[in-house]
């Protein structure tokens, strides 16, 4: 009964989404005030109904209602309660429901926070969001209904995929989707502005905090996914350039470009059509990512026969939404002109360089991701594009970008006047060279040829970011949140580059066949394999190794890698044993019983890898601080819009 209710509220939510679209878009274009007034109630209603649907599905999971196909395929009576809730987004149907629910949540937030926007504009934004919602709810109901029943119900369920039974996974999809779907807000703002035919700097100011917030969520979501892969997949990697990862990384790259071009648009009225295009692109890539992941076009050769109807449905939706937005763009963008000029070393110019490199990098990832499909379409034999290709290509775009960040931070608007900052630039570079080269050659050893570049650039970015805030503090100037946020995010970027540079070059790895009592030596560290014990979890049994890590002969940590055997799915999983020291991770994964009392063990020392997650945290924190800057809240925005209109197109 409860699942049917959930299904029913899902249908009602779809109807409200249709109402929201029609009232919003038609109401705004005909100037019908009563229709526009109906939009917000529709948004609220939709959110409540979708929450009820989510609740119904959670209820079905928690009460083991195996007559629901989705529950039977993704849960089992032995599955712990925590994972029964998280199993909601453990597979296709539930993920889509989550997608729809998070979109409804963002829409509700926009509806509540947009009261000081002009009513017609707010209605258009909500109408566009409603249209996206219609597409996804329809897709869920028509091709992927999570409430479908199976009669008679199976006695027990097939369980949640064991690799997904992990605490990080419980929060990874919702946070990732918060970012992914959050770009829908920027997209809706762009579409509304194009429909209205009015694109001024006020528009950029409205959309900026939303975009930055979505970007912050996406950053955290990606980092969580990477962290999860690192300790759950059992071979010690943290990024594989897998299509699923690329699907979230491309929107992130374009989103990063977008939050920077929005700065130029808001501040100087520049790059308006480009910012619009990026708003469309960021969300388009989110949709494309959903398509790639959900349609199964890119999965490995061994996944037999994915259902093409799902893929075709999303593709059709993609064509309508993205195609529509781009058509709107082709119609409206030519009207946008800006009188602003800037020197090639001005801040505007650096933001432009940043944008070009980020978008080219995203395009490069897109080429790599779609290469197998393109080869297919051209009737070429299958080819693979994997990590070695990406690791060669990506730095081509990123290293120049890093250098430009380190310099561009000092550039002023319009005239650049980098000459005034010459001392800071050289001082920063000097500090970075001394620290970086010392770290590389005296600390770690030469490593790969790219490493010194990465390390020096990383430190240069960090040092460069600090000049302006320190200077402001010294001169007792106020430090607006926008500046604080930007500084923290840029420091995060530097820390991240530093972490990647060291991890890629100085990871020590040994694969050994080891028997209890033996040790594997890696530099000053030795992993001593003490013993094995059998352990039993709620839905698996496992062997757990005890490995004592010795540094210079003294014990510093104990690692407990496991090999788990999940009963229901009959899957064997390695659970890595990891201990984090301040400057490296000690990593051990138990891989297989190779007979004669020996186990194959992968032992790694991964320098600075934890700083990669800290870096993502810093970037997201910076984004959140910047998004809460006072200027987005103080003056009523509608009033400001009117003021801007009076002042014409001149920048604030």
């Amino acid at each position: 009964m409860i699942p049917e209710l959930g299904h029913f509220t899902l249908i009602l939510a779809l109807i409200l989404a249709v109402a929201q679209t029609v009232f919003g878009l038609v109401g705004a274009s005909t100037g019908n005030v009563r229709w526009q007034a109906a939009v917000r109630p529709a948004v609220a209603g939709q959110f409540v109904l979708l929450s009820a649907s989510m609740g119904a599905l959670v209820y079905a999971f928690v009460t083991f209602d195996f007559s629901v196909v989705y529950v039977a395929s993704n849960a089992n009576s032995a599955l712990p309660t925590f994972y029964r809730v998280a199993a909601l987004w453990g597979a296709h149907e539930g993920s889509l429901l989550l997608w729809g629910w998070i979109l409804a949540a963002w829409t509700l937030a926009v509806a509540l926070a947009s009261r000081n926007l002009p009513e017609a504009f707010a209605s258009r934004v909500l109408g566009v969001l409603g249209f996206v919602s219609v597409g996804f709810l329809l897709f869920t109901l028509v091709t992927s209904n999570p409430f479908e029943r199976i009669i008679p119900a199976p006695a027990d369920g097939r369980d949640l995929n064991p690799v997904l039974q992990d605490p990080a996974l419980a929060i990874h999809p919702p946070i990732l989707y918060m970012g992914y779907v959050g770009f829908a807000v920027a997209f809706a703002f762009a579409c509304a502005a194009m429909l209205e035919g009015k694109l001024d700097q006020v528009w950029a100011r409205w959309t900026r905090p939303w975009t930055t917030l979505a970007w912050a969520f996406l950053t955290v979501g990606i980092a969580l996914g990477s962290w999860w892969a690192y300790y759950e997949l059992g071979w010690g990697g943290y990024w594989f350039w897998d299509p699923v990862e690329n699907a979230v990384f491309m929107p992130w790259l374009v989103g990063t470009a977008l939050i920077h071009s929005l700065a130029a648009t808001e501040k100087r009225g520049l790059f308006k059509s480009w910012t619009l295009l990026l708003s469309i692109l960021a969300f388009s890539l989110s949709l494309l990512g959903t398509f790639l992941v959900r349609s199964g076009v890119l999965t490995s050769v061994h996944s037999f026969a994915a259902d093409p109807t799902r893929g075709l449905f999303i593709l059709a939706f993609l064509v309508v939404v993205i195609g529509g937005a781009l058509a709107l763009y082709a119609w409206r963008a030519p009207l946008l002109k800006s009188p602003a000029g800037f020197e090639p070393t001005a801040r505007e110019a650096f933001l432009l360089y940043n944008n070009i490199l980020l978008v080219c990098a995203a395009a490069m990832v897109l080429v790599g991701t779609l290469a197998p499909l393109i080869a297919d379409a051209l009737r070429q034999p299958a080819l693979s594009v994997g990590e070695p290709w990406y690791n060669t290509m990506f730095p081509v775009f990123m290293l120049p970008l890093m250098a430009l960040v380190a310099i561009g931070i000092h550039a002023g608007w319009k005239r650049g006047q980098l000459g005034r900052s010459r001392l800071r630039i050289l001082l920063g570079l000097g500090i970075a060279l001394v620290l970086g080269l010392t770290l590389v050659y005296a600390g770690y050893g030469p490593g790969k040829w790219l490493t010194p570049f990465g390390v020096v650039l990383a430190i240069w970015i960090i040092v460069s970011s600090l000049f302006d805030p320190i200077d402001r503090l010294r001169r007792k100037l106020t430090l607006p949140r926008a500046v604080v946020g930007m500084t923290i995010a840029h420091i995060g970027l530097g820390v991240g580059v530093l972490a990647i540079s060291t991890v890629e070059s100085y990871t020590v790895e040994r694969d050994v066949a080891i028997a209890p009592g033996e040790s594997v030596v890696m530099g000053r560290f030795a992993y001593r394999f003490d013993d094995l014990e059998a352990v039993e979890g709620p839905n698996y049994d496992a062997v757990r190794a005890r490995i004592t890590v010795l540094k210079d002969g003294k014990p510093v940590a104990t690692l407990n890698p496991e090999q788990r055997n999940y009963w229901v799915q009959r899957q064997t999983l390695t659970e890595a044993g990891i201990t984090s020291l301040w400057n490296m991770d000690l990593f051990a994964a138990l891989r297989a019983d190779v007979g004669a009392g020996r186990w194959s063990l992968r032992a790694q020392l991964r320098p600075l890898i934890d700083y990669l997650w800290y870096a993502a945290g810093l970037m997201a924190l910076g984004g959140i601080i910047a998004a809460t800057d006072r200027r987005y809240r103080t003056r009523p925005l509608a009033e400001e819009a009117a003021a801007a209109e009076r002042a014409g197109a001149s920048p604030a």
Binding site: K267, S300, G341, I356, V359, G517
Partner: protein
């Protein structure tokens, strides 16, 4: 004489590790560090055909270990990296190479990103030139308080 020296060295080395008791064997140790490096590099760029986006170095499945054995044997037999890659492609096609070869049919994967970059640079130069000419006619004076914050 020299044999004796090497024996003494061996004893010294084993003394060093005494406290650590017997040392384990590397699962797939190569006889020399040079070969080991080539082995590590090669096995990381060959795809495990049964897996989803995993190299044969990282995959625990049986076929991956068979292919690692194959790579090891070919390396020891004195084959070059290129010969080993060619042999793998002859059996499994370009699909097995994570790094697409620069040949007709796959070279576009390498060229396309650079074409994009050149296009990007071209567009950037044009925009920057055009805007630089507009600096004088543009009367607006931005406040230079970094980010565009309201600090004043």
């Amino acid at each position: 004489m020299s044999r004796r020296l090497s024996f003494a060295a061996a004893v010294a080395v084993s003394m060093m590790f005494m406290s650590l008791r017997a040392s384990p064997v590397d699962v797939e140790a190569m006889p020399t560090p040079g070969l080991q490096q080539r082995y590590d590099d090669l096995t990381h760029e060959l795809r495990c055909m049964q897996c989803q986006n995993q190299s044969i170095a990282d995959s625990p499945v049986g076929l991956a270990s068979d292919l690692r054995r194959d790579v090891r044997e070919q390396l020891i037999a004195g084959k070059t990296d290129e010969e080993i890659r060619t042999a793998m492609v002859a059996r499994y096609g370009n699909f097995i190479l994570f790094r697409p070869p620069f040949r007709s049919g796959t070279a576009w994967v390498w060229i396309a990103p650079f074409l994009l970059l050149i296009l990007g640079v071209f567009v950037t130069v044009r925009i920057v030139r055009q805007r630089a000419r507009m600096v004088e006619s543009d009367a607006s004076e931005p406040d230079d308080s970094a980010e565009g914050g309201t600090s004043k």
